[in-house]
Structure formats: C-alpha cells, structure tokens
Symmetry: C2
Subunit: 164 residues, 2 copies
C-alpha cells in the first residue's frame, strides 16, 4: 500500500470534501440525479455522529484518497454496519480499501462486535467480488430492500474466527 | 390525543410500511423523484440498527399513524439526533407528534443525553414553527448543509432544564 497516506478520524468539515469526491470517483454516474442520490446517501449526520468508527485517508498534499463510514448497531451491539466506502480510482489495487475495512473490523471487535454488515446494489459486480474476497458472505439479490426499485445485495462478515 | 393508538419500537419489517406512507403523507410532493428522495432519506438501516430510540404508532386496525426515527450520537454521547418524523395528516393537531418527541426526550435523558438535534429544509415553515413550539432553538438557513443545493435549518433542544 502507498506508504505516504495519513489515516484519521473524519470531522464534520470533511463532509463537503467527501461529497465533492464522489462524483469524479464514481465517474459522474447518472449525472446530476446520481450526484443528488449519492449526497442523500451520505448526509452530514454521518460526519457529526458516527466518526469514531469512520476513517479517512489523505495524501501528503491533503487531498482525499479514501474514506469509510460505519457505525455500531444500537439495536444489536453484536453487529456493526459499514455504510459507505470510497477509494480514489487512481489508487485502486493498492490495498487501501482493505486496510480501511480491516481497521473497522479491529475497532468493531474491540467494542465486542461479532459481525459486520453492509449492502451494495446488485449491478455492482466489482463490489460483490471485492466483499467476497474480504471474507463477507453475499446474499441473493433482495428486491426493493431500501424501497421500491432500490434492490440490494447484503453482505455479512463474521468477526468470530479472529477472536478465538 | 387520540386514545386508541398503540406505540411500540419499530422492527425491520416496518420499513416498507413507513416508506409507503411517506408519499400520501407528504401529498406526493415532487412526484416520483420526491418518492425516491424520501426513500433515500429513510434506508432500511434505520429499522435495523436504531430501533431503541425510534417509535411507531398504529391504529387499532394496524394501519400506521405516526413514527419517529432517532439515535444517540456515537461521536458525542451528550447529543441525540432525530432523523425523521411523520404523522398521518388526518391525525394532525392531536399532539401525537409532540408525544413522540417527548418520548424521545425521555429516552435520551435516561441515556445521559443533554441535547437533541434535528434538521429540516428551509422551505418547510410549518416544521420550523413546530420545532420552536417544542422548545428547539432554530438556526439560520445553512446553505449546502447536506450537499450542493441541499440547504437545511438546524434545531437544537436542551434537555438540561428538565434534569435540574
């Protein structure tokens, strides 16, 4: 992995920078509607209220390289959830995403969490393969999971093995 | 307040019912794009991971009357956040919304929370007045708060007075 990245807990002021990165990193997918959809998936509240289990990577010049947003379930303290992860496409293949996930697994495990969940859209085959490589079990396609027309694939990763 | 409502903690299966209610309750505001926007504001994760501080009201026939979705901040345990509240317009003016907020204040206070936050869109004058009546302090309009073009007004309510 690129050795010159700095990893830290995000702060509220990082919200606008992360949103600004989503467009280019997702290749402007679905134009203005896509940008609004991504903004609605990452409201400011995540940068206000879920920072202890979130992480951001920056280059030496301060530009954003990657981020992960997650939280511990308040319904089931055995479970943590990764809401959104992004890595600058120019830095793909260097293990930066994996290091963010593994950091999250470690934080979660310290809090007594035993499994980590997340979802992606069924069209995102790369994300499905990526999560499988990280040890996640992949569900079938779940129709209308997040609402009408918002199908999802769900992932679950046990943290139990490493705790033994 | 209508005496025949049942209040309970939501479960994951309530997600689709709440989404289905948002359209009629918001008068189909902004058509299909508005429906998708509302769905993106209330993903299933809230019904999986933030149920202890969320609440749902049903009529005797099981139809949905109102709901509140909130959580305690994981960055600042002094703070709780109310993400989304809806009351069937046919039941407005009966104090159902107020009872949901007051239930949340009580839950939050028991968890050691000292202030409650939430946001609304600046166009929603009724919501601004409503929150002021509930004891929230109202901010100025915060441009691009949740992203480009997503202006918000922020509310903060102290729980300190009632704790003295």
């Amino acid at each position: 992995m690129s050795a010159d990245l700095t990893f830290r807990q995000p702060i509220e002021d990082d919200h606008a920078r992360v949103l600004a990165a989503l467009g280019p990193w997702w290749g402007g997918l679905k134009g203005e509607a896509g940008a609004k959809e991504r903004a609605l998936l990452v409201p400011r509240l995540y940068f206000q209220h879920f920072t202890p289990t979130s992480r951001l990577a920056e280059r030496p010049d301060g530009t954003l390289a990657a981020f992960l947003i997650g939280f511990v379930s308040q319904t089931d303290p055995d479970t943590a959830y990764i809401h959104f992860v992004g890595v600058d496409p120019q830095l793909h293949g260097q293990g930066i995403g994996r290091s963010l996930y593994e950091w999250f697994f470690g934080q979660a495990r310290e809090s007594g969490v035993r499994k980590v969940k997340c979802v992606t859209s069924p069209q995102n085959a790369a994300s499905r393969a990526y999560h499988a490589r990280l040890g996640f079990e992949v569900s079938e396609v779940l129709p209308d999971y997040d609402g009408p027309g918002l199908d999802r694939v769900a992932f679950t990763r046990s943290l139990a093995a490493e705790r033994a």
